[in-house]
Symmetry: C2
Subunit: 405 residues, 2 copies
């Protein structure tokens, strides 16, 4: 047993790439026993996301699959499907992130899974809600960002549509899926009942974007147009200094007035365009332009020292590389080099959140494909001969790192 608040909860994880693996990572990191079921080809995330030291162990895969165990099952073979259903019988949750019709084709619809385990929580992530015309469309993070208005935000702020160059739709929806599974676990503890959960990416991202940017079209009839002008201002960005960039945000009166003092423009504190939250919101274009002009005058280090002294929220602008050298992140021990049994030294990131009730105490590095096939089949009651037959037919794959026993 792993320990941690979710100890003993068993997740059968059919997901791949990012959205599903992120959801199950959260559960695994807090003690759930996540059994990653892979086809013989393996999670596409093993390859996509760049090369690693050995094949099928991309850096992204390493970051998203720690604390999980991998079993290979060829679900097209009867023996593979039977083994999955045996695992399902003793599981709390089944998670998947492909299209609903392909779950039906694999005989893994909710009805079929529930027949094997009536208390199961059956959670699917896919592109589009099943009551709408896009229901059968395939989805990836980027096209969801484009369809749900994320790319449009850059268009307004910077002049051309562009995705955020990280799979934020996958990530947000993965976080939401973990949430929904936890809610269903609480529901089951209270009522004894399992349930099915449907998590469409497009709708979830549309809600995240529009709850922020529906803006004056929220009202019916509308009071104005879409788009929060403060966030969409072209100068709402890390601002150039004499030698780099700095990030600054002075939102309350105290902060804004301290900022005006710091840039030597104390007279703006009583300027009616800038003397209240509402006034600065209305005149954000001009407020931000004044900021931009002023910050060119000194170096980043000078500004950070000044803003720190007067409690104006400000931070260094980090590149990916400087972020990895950030002294605060060193203080908190975010980066730890762990020895992976097959990949050598690998930087693992610690859990960022602290629970005084205790976290999962052990740590399992991301598994090789099929690394735990034999172990998991044994736990499920399979005899050695049956396991050997499955390996021989390709219904499973024995990916143990050390086979001497």
């Amino acid at each position: 047993m792993a320990g941690g608040p979710l100890e003993g909860i068993r997740i059968i994880d059919l997901t791949s790439v990012v959205v599903g693996p992120l959801a199950t990572q959260v559960l695994a990191d807090h003690g759930a026993d996540v059994i990653k079921v892979e086809s013989p080809a393996g999670d596409l995330g093993r390859a996509i996301g760049g090369g690693g030291r050995t094949s099928g162990m991309s850096p992204k895969f390493l970051h998203l699959n720690r604390n999980k165990r991998s079993i290979v099952l060829d679900l097209k073979q009867a023996a593979g499907y039977a083994a999955l259903m045996r695992l399902v019988k003793n599981a709390d949750v089944l998670v998947w992130n492909n299209r609903p019709p392909s779950m039906a084709r694999m005989k893994l619809s909710y009805e079929e899974v529930r027949a094997a385990n009536p208390k199961i929580i059956y959670c699917g992530m896919f592109g589009f809600g099943q009551d709408g015309r896009y229901r059968d469309k395939p989805a990836y993070d980027s096209i969801i960002q484009g369809a749900a208005g994320v790319a449009a935000l850059y268009h307004r702020a910077a002049g051309e549509p562009r995705y955020l160059p990280m799979v934020m739709a996958d990530r947000m929806v993965g976080l939401i899926a973990a949430q929904m599974i936890l809610i269903a676990l609480i529901h089951r503890a209270r009522t004894g009942k399992g349930q099915a959960i449907e998590i469409p990416m497009f709708e979830n991202m549309a809600v995240q974007v529009l709850s922020e940017h529906m803006y004056l079209r929220t009202f019916e009839p509308p009071l104005g147009g879409t788009g929060d002008p403060r966030l969409l201002d072209p100068d709402g960005r890390p601002l150039p200094t004499r030698d780099g960039y700095v990030c600054v945000a002075a939102n309350t009166n105290d902060q804004a007035f301290a900022f005006f003092d710091a840039i030597g423009r104390s007279e703006l504190k009583t300027d009616r365009r800038f003397n209240s939250v509402n006034a600065r919101f209305k005149n954000v274009r001009e407020y931000y332009r004044i900021r931009t002009e002023a910050l060119k005058q000194k170096t980043t280090a000078e500004w950070l020292r000044i803003f720190d002294r007067c409690d104006v929220p400000a931070m260094p602008y980090h590149t990916l590389d400087s972020l990895m050298e950030d002294p605060h992140l060193k203080d908190v021990g975010l980066f730890r080099v762990v020895e992976h049994p097959t990949e050598g030294g690998v930087i693992n990131m610690a859990l960022p959140n602290r629970l005084t009730g205790g976290a999962r105490p052990d740590f399992r590095p991301a598994p090789k494909i099929g690394q735990h096939s034999v172990e998991i089949l044994r736990e499920a009651g399979y005899e050695e001969a049956a396991i050997a037959a499955m390996v021989a037919s390709g219904a499973t794959l024995d990916g143990r790192i050390e086979k001497q026993r």
Copy 2:
């Protein structure tokens, strides 16, 4: 009682603006009784985020505070503080999103709150982990994006650092906070014990960005640099067509080969630069350039029809306004005009996820400041005279919409 999977769970919510209100929104939407405690000045989110039909009811506030009740308590007054502690005694969770020292100043440290209610789950969101040198710094979404490498992604892809113009750090961390609270609720149901949870924004966002973009620096010694080149490619964006833009993502072989056929470049299917996932990853610059060139030739509608027929993942590029007219979102009923008791017609977005176990059946529009002060104080056992005295001293504010009773 609200119904829904979290029915009967009581949350005392001291949060403001976005990060905390989003976390408690998730809990409220699924049935928790969220008591929003506001200072007499009210949640800053009531004003920031634009004007509305009445003062203090900004569109963003409406989207983030439905299904909650509002009580005003002036915690600087003894009577206000005493009332909060009375609420805490009967609560399951206390949530806050200011800096830890200011919680201590208000006599609301974990030790003090736990003394009143040993089983409480005490969850704080703030900028920076308390073991690092940034511990006392103030934080807002934008500067966290800049510090945690989000702005740097845009820098690499498009040539200048820029925040995503939505508060994605607030949103991700808010989703994570809801998750941690749910995990702690499960832990408490199993052990009977409460706990404190600390959620630092900077560390959480660094983990989200770097688990994607630490890339070849994941290995020690490093196998190469940071940054997933596929995501950071300048042409990884909605692509111009003859009359607009289209979003397309052909990742698997089937999809990429269908795409090559669709653009009349079938010979690329056997081109060694593009004939496998790995090959396309290595030659992403060229692959994406070919895509960009090809898509200029036809209109968006033509491409969408073609890609739909051959199952290449593709979506329209939506502006914020066209997103609100999307026919699929109409099919699923995402947008519903509800009559707010003081704000008139307001577009509410339905919950995007379906739980067959049932959702919260009722719907409460976002509250006016102090709308439920009297109701909540009565529930806590306050006599009418005591409530009247608190109203008179300003320790609370009676914001009932209809005071005739």
